[in-house]
């Protein structure tokens, strides 16, 4: 459950982002409370994935401000003045955030176990023994302990995505970003990944931002849903409000289209 009356863990204030002439994010502001589970929905090109990529520092912003855990993501204080963040600052900020990608982005030349242990060993100085111990716990949690020595190429899409989730969790981030993590999967493999997300949702304190087209899952999973269109938030509310009683015309039209395409809401 989302706690109330606490400082937000993510604060986005009036950010703008364009790719060439195309304005992806338009004076966008919202904040996320610690432990909140947020679903970001909307038509493609509406900017929801870009938000996650910006939070992961894979894209910069043109203007505006983002605070993560009280610190500015893209700016830092030096000699009392605000300056663009340097590598060390970004490194420190990224420690708080983990991301799972639509296409898994596993390291194809490393076995499942090494995919999970690499980051803690490199970035946190964990010993191989500790990293492997923790990795095996995580692989067990996602149901893949028996695949530890397999290569990614030997896994199904659903298994790959579960490894990718374990890999991101290995760094113990406070915030997890899930970018359409089931969109590239065959329909029969979607559920095994959603089950893992469910488990994380119920059993951890992490703040989670989920970009998804699985409306049924978004409804059950999220404390709060943001409906994006053309780089703006059109509607922001509890899952029941958004999915059952959308106020905005654009939200209604989008949900209608999604339902017509066979998705459960």
């Amino acid at each position: 459950m989302p706690p109330t009356n606490t400082a937000p863990i993510i604060e986005i204030n009036g950010i703008n982002k364009s790719f060439g002439a195309f304005k992806v994010l338009n004076d966008l502001s919202f904040s996320v409370a610690p432990r909140e589970k947020l679903a970001l929905i909307g038509p493609s090109g509406s900017g929801k994935t870009t938000i996650l990529r910006i939070l992961m520092t894979l894209e910069g912003i043109d203007s505006g401000e983002i605070l993560v855990d009280g610190d500015s993501l893209y700016q830092m204080k030096r000699n009392g003045k605000l300056q663009p963040a340097d590598d060390a600052h970004l490194h420190k900020m990224r420690e708080k955030i983990g991301m799972v990608f639509q296409l898994f982005n596993l390291f194809p030349h490393k076995c499942v176990l090494d995919n999970v242990t690499l980051a803690p060993m490199l970035t946190k100085g964990a010993s191989r023994k500790d990293a492997e111990h923790h990795a095996m716990e995580l692989l067990d949690m996602v149901g893949l302990a028996d695949k530890a020595k397999s290569m990614p190429s030997q896994l199904s899409g659903g298994q790959k995505q579960r490894v990718a989730i374990a890999r991101a969790l290995a760094l113990k981030p406070k915030i997890m970003l899930f970018d359409e993590v089931t969109s590239a999967l065959d329909p029969e493999l979607v559920e095994e990944v959603l089950n893992v997300l469910w488990k994380l949702c119920r059993e951890t304190d992490m703040t989670m931002l989920l970009v998804t087209h699985e409306m049924g899952f978004a409804h059950d999973f999220a404390d709060r849903v943001l409906f994006f269109d053309r780089g703006r938030i059109v509607e922001d509310g509890k899952p029941d409000e958004i999915f059952r009683h959308p106020k905005q015309e654009r939200t209604q039209a989008f949900l209608k289209k999604i339902i017509a395409a066979g998705h459960r809401v």
Binding site: H91, F101, N105, P108, H109, A119, R167, L171
Partner: protein, 219 residues
């Protein structure tokens, strides 16, 4: 037939020099290839310029001229090299310039998603390059590195021009002494081909070894 045995020995002595040149030249070329290839991808403009200047210069001038510079001109500036050192230097720098482009191309061909995974896992640039990008890119470089090594082997014949007694030099000695062209040049033809085959097989073996269990990397 007996008289040829001594001449064959002479050519085999030359083969040892050729193999030595090829190995040492390839080692230098490999180092230069990574330095210049990664240098061209550097964030720092002066490093990129330096790498580009090296690559363009050594690709754009002949190995023959480079060798003569290394052996005959550098001493004028106080750097005296043995023929073997001059040969290794010229061959390594020349082939390294070609191989640098192979390194750059292979590194650039690794998908953006691998770099993004590195960022998301909070690797710094070197950690990502060392652990994620280069191991995958190296597999892509191998076949062309094999070509480069064979090119270097064949180009090594130019060192006979600075009186280093490699295989080609020895073949000319034998030709001068016996008046036969067929024997020495048939022999070195076969030897060059044999050494090239060894390089090909070694590279292919290494490639197979490195791609086990791997299908995500284009080859």
């Amino acid at each position: 037939m007996g008289q040829w045995a001594g001449y064959l020995q002479l050519i085999l002595d030359g083969a040892v020099v050729t193999i030595k040149l090829t190995l040492m030249g390839s080692a230098l070329a490999l180092v230069m290839a990574f330095l210049a290839g990664l240098g061209r991808l550097s964030r720092f403009a002066p490093v990129r310029w330096l790498a580009t200047a090296y690559i363009e210069f050594f690709r754009g001038t002949s190995i023959f001229v480079q060798l003569f510079w290394a052996y005959f001109v550098l001493p004028l500036f106080g750097f005296t090299l043995t023929p073997l050192q001059a040969g290794v230097l010229a061959l390594g720098l020349n082939v390294g310039a070609y191989a640098a482009e192979v390194v750059r191309g292979a590194v650039k061909s690794i998908g953006k998603e691998q770099y993004e995974a590195c960022t998301a896992l909070n690797f710094n640039r070197w950690q990502g390059l060392r652990n994620v990008i280069l191991p995958q890119a190296f597999v892509l470089m191998l076949p062309t590195f094999g070509n480069n090594a064979i090119e270097l082997l064949k180009a090594s014949a130019v060192v006979s021009l600075i009186s280093l007694s490699d295989m080609t030099f020895q073949a000319q000695v034998v030709r001068a002494q016996t008046g036969s062209t067929l024997f020495p040049f048939l022999t070195i033809l076969i030897l060059y081909f044999a050494i090239a085959c060894v390089i090909s097989f070694a590279i292919r073996g290494l490639e197979r070894h490195l791609t086990r269990g791997l299908d995500g990397i284009r080859s």
